[in-house]
């Protein structure tokens, strides 16, 4: 059953930039769908349209099962510097006027689940880049999303932190049965995380190819080194190269 269907989405900004040309995409519940494409191809714009933060000029965004509770994780952690980690994780619940005790309990749990159990009272400036991103993920999880939109969330992190967060994200999304729509320009990240990859062309962005992946039950560092992983990454790479060259992938 589809949780989200985009049909013929187009978006041109007031500046005249045609960000999104014609994007159609169906997302199944439980999918981990990654949008891969060159910088500026409108990936982020698609996410913002799905979130309802932008209105498309043409096309339709449909939620066949009703609009799911949606979380958004930005490229920057986007934390409130004046609030503690716990205060930040509580934000969506407070905005939704969840009773205080329940909001507190859910924020505490969310921080524990991202591995920041002992850091509830820390302010963002006291946390490392990776920890801030974990708070940002905890904030999204606290609201118990069915659909999680992630806009290059780990792009600014070092390789080691990024891989740790990739593993945690796979686990958390699976535990909660969250459907993830993920944006990245890293082929390896998309190979590692996704059940499906949609490759986009340069601006104005279109979907050039959709690639279904079949990741093993346990994904770990060893899997990254296997020929199978390399072959999957190569498929995405080739599709991306073809899309960038202006041809449809075979």
């Amino acid at each position: 059953m589809h949780i989200l269907a985009l049909s013929h989405i187009a978006k041109t900004f007031d500046s005249g930039t045609r960000a999104v040309g014609d994007v159609s995409l169906a997302v199944e519940a439980g999918d981990f769908l990654t949008l891969v494409g060159p910088s500026g191809c409108g990936k982020s714009t698609v996410l913002r349209i799905v979130a309802g933060l932008l209105r498309p000029d043409a096309g339709a965004v449909e939620f066949p099962q009703g609009r799911p509770e949606t979380g958004f994780v930005f490229q920057e952690p986007a934390l409130m510097p004046w609030a503690t980690a716990l205060g930040n994780a509580r934000l969506p619940l407070e905005l939704k006027r969840v009773p205080r005790a329940e909001a507190q309990a859910r924020a505490v749990t969310a921080l524990e689940r991202v591995g920041l159990g002992g850091f509830g009272n820390a302010y963002p400036r006291e946390l490392s880049g990776g920890m801030k991103m974990r708070v940002s993920i905890a904030r999204a999880l606290a609201a118990r999303p069915r659909l999680l939109l992630m806009d290059e969330p780990f792009a600014a992190l070092d390789e080691f932190t990024r891989q740790a967060l990739n593993d945690d994200l796979i686990k958390l999304a699976r535990e909660d049965g969250i459907t993830v729509l993920f944006v990245t320009h890293s082929v390896y990240e998309s190979t590692y995380l996704s059940s499906r990859v949609a490759v986009m062309t340069p601006r104005p962005g279109r979907i050039a190819a959709e690639i279904a992946l079949d990741p093993p039950a346990t994904r770990d560092a060893a899997w990254r080194l296997t020929p199978e992983f390399a072959a999957e990454a190569a498929r995405i790479s080739r599709a991306l190269a073809a899309a960038t060259a202006g041809r449809e992938a075979a």
Partner: protein
């Protein structure tokens, strides 16, 4: 530098300057009506102690009332500006006119309107006008400075206009507002003194009046005593507001964090 040194060094410099001042005035026989020595000022301070304290109290009341009025009205107007771009476009240029027109030149008109029998009310109004603008302009910018991703997040979670203001825009504006408040605190004191200078008579009873009157009577030592008191009040006000800023920001804001280090 450690805390003790940070207090000791300026104090030592102050003592040195006062000692040098005392020596130069005595050594060169400078007449007291040109420049009184520190040893002339302290008896003048003691002799007029009651009068000076009463004047100080008046000036402080005017300053603080004006400061609070300026703060409340500037914050309210900044919020209105934030709610309506049209109102901001219409009113902001006039706020600037009020700011750039030298207060000494408007003060006589205000005194005439309010009347010389209520100089303290005119002083409150003048000091309020002077202190108003830095808070307004800083708060207006500050309310617009919230992280755009957070603004989006508030929208995504269906925040009300009120929630956005109270939980996002005001906290984000706080560092801006506080630096405006520090400037405004100094200006409110200046406004309170200027009003009395301009009034020159009537029912003025603050430090501004003591300075004017002592100058006319050639009581230069008393004038210096009042001046010293005025500076001390200005400095105390500034550090009080700096402390408030530190107390509100030190846990999270970079500017205050760096002061800690």
């Amino acid at each position: 530098m450690n805390r003790a040194l940070r207090i000791a060094v300026p104090l030592a410099l102050g003592a040195l300057v006062i000692g040098l001042w005392q020596f130069l005035v005595r050594h060169n026989g400078v007449p007291v009506y040109v420049l009184p020595a520190p040893s002339d000022i302290s008896p003048a301070f003691r002799d007029s102690f009651a009068e000076l304290m009463a004047a100080l109290w008046t000036t402080l009341q005017v300053t603080w009332i004006a400061f609070v009025l300026a703060f409340v009205s500037a914050m309210l107007l900044a919020v209105v500006f934030n709610l309506s771009r049209t109102v901001e476009m219409a009113l902001f240029p006039y706020a600037v006119v009020l700011q750039v027109t030298p207060m000494v030149s408007i003060a006589p008109v205000i005194l005439i309107w309010i009347g010389y029998e209520h100089v303290e009310r005119a002083a409150v109004l003048i000091a309020t006008i002077v202190a108003f603008f830095p808070i307004l302009s800083n708060a207006t910018v500050g309310l617009r400075s919230a992280d755009s991703n957070l603004v989006d997040l508030f929208r995504l979670y269906g925040a009300s206009r009120w929630q956005r203001l109270m939980r996002l825009q005001l906290p984000a504006a706080l560092p801006y507002i506080l630096s405006g408040v520090k400037v405004a605190g100094g200006l409110a004191l200046i406004g309170a003194i200027v009003a009395e200078f301009v009034a020159g008579s009537g029912t003025a009873t603050g430090l501004g009046w003591v300075i004017t009157e002592a100058g006319r009577n050639l009581q230069i030592a008393k004038m210096f005593a009042a001046l010293g008191l005025l500076s001390a009040v200005g400095v105390a006000n500034f550090y009080l507001l700096t402390f408030v800023e530190w107390a509100l920001l030190h846990r999270w804001h970079e500017s205050a964090v760096k002061q800690n280090a």
